[in-house]
């Protein structure tokens, strides 16, 4: 049943893309409505900043629209959108590094966590007993902080899989990496998160 529903959605995506390629704005708006939250969620988890994530989300759809004629049906529309989003993340990361005059590897943790003014970037005191947490909002903040500690490549893989629900194969296409690399990155991300979130796992 779920498979049939996925098939129907996929067919709808294909027809929406075909209409979009003929400059059908209504089809474009429908694609935006269908995927804006998923793309925004992914970009928020990657950047840790809602404003940046929203700006990048808009850019994803602008790029989608301007390059829709070059879209090939080998990948699904959602995978293609995540690919655009991932590339924009990398560009954004490099631009921010350049502005700060720093050179870091993409394997290093995202330095956005060092900026002030964003609660999600504050590294919580994980020595604090988890039973003092009173809301899911605080737990979410701790999880986001743990995600920010991950290298960008590991963060992308675990977010796409555990939060966005993409299967390994789609992640491989979205990231442009082999399947084995996807499995390896997810494994390593979980090893790291297990350490960062240990108090919450045990509770």
């Amino acid at each position: 049943m779920l498979g049939e529903r996925s098939l129907i959605l996929t067919h709808s995506d294909a027809s929406l893309v075909a209409r979009c390629q003929k400059a059908d704005l209504a089809a474009f708006n429908e694609i935006v409505a269908r995927y804006k939250n998923k793309i925004f969620s992914y970009l928020y988890r990657m950047t840790g900043n809602a404003e940046d994530a929203e700006d990048l989300t808009q850019e994803v759809f602008v790029r989608m629209y301007t390059n829709i004629t070059s879209f090939r049906a080998e990948a699904s529309l959602s995978t293609w959108l995540f690919r655009i989003a991932g590339n924009l993340c990398v560009d954004s990361y490099r631009r921010s590094k350049k502005q700060r005059g720093l050179v870091h590897s993409l394997d290093a943790p995202f330095a956005g966590e060092e900026e002030e003014g964003t609660a999600t970037r504050d590294v919580p005191d994980l020595s604090q007993a988890p039973e003092t947490l009173v809301s899911r909002k605080e737990l979410a903040a701790h999880i986001q902080a743990a995600l920010q500690k991950l290298p960008t490549k590991l963060r992308a893989a675990i977010v796409l899989h555990d939060i966005e629900g993409l299967p390994y194969e789609d992640i491989a296409v979205a990231e442009g990496i082999p399947l084995g690399t996807v499995k390896s990155r997810i494994f390593n991300a979980r090893v790291a998160l297990r350490e960062h979130l240990r108090p919450y796992l045990e509770s």
């Binding site: 809602a50 808009q58 629209y65 004629t69 979980r190």
Partner: protein
Amino acid sequence: MATIRDCTRIQPLLSEYVDGTLTDQVSWDVKMHITSCAVCAKIADDFSATSRLLGELPQMELSANFEAMLTQRLADEALRPRQRTPWNRFTDTLSEIWQNSTRRNVMATGVAVAAMVPLVVVILNMNRPLPNTNVRQVATTTVPTPAAIKSTGNDTSPLDPDKMWNGHLSAAASEVLGDPSGLLAVRGEGM
């Protein structure tokens, strides 16, 4: 009883085991191992719990005017003059042709024919008879140059470059015209 070697083999598989992407046989092996290994069982539980925590994160909300701003941004993008270089125009034209199946077939056929033309030319040239090589033989006739004669010391007459050069030319001409009498050579000296 689980051994360290078993753990080394099993632990890298625990992430996929939690995600249910292992084959039945390998999944069974992992399951059998973690029933007797507390360490690996704990790791599997932690992986599972981590995955669950991430999956249960609250959905983030976009701002209310997201789509309005996106529409504005698209309008700005449409109004921005596009720099079309000759290469852009060429690739855009190719792209348009390629998307039309009939035109695509015509273009593919044209490219195939164009690729065959050099091959056909080479094959035809291979079958063509070689031209008359008399001139080539004359051209390879060795006539000693003044410098060569000087170096061998065979010339006892005073060196006259013009005479030597005319002699060289006349010898070549007599061979071409098939004149064994040497009259042409005599005439060459008087030139």
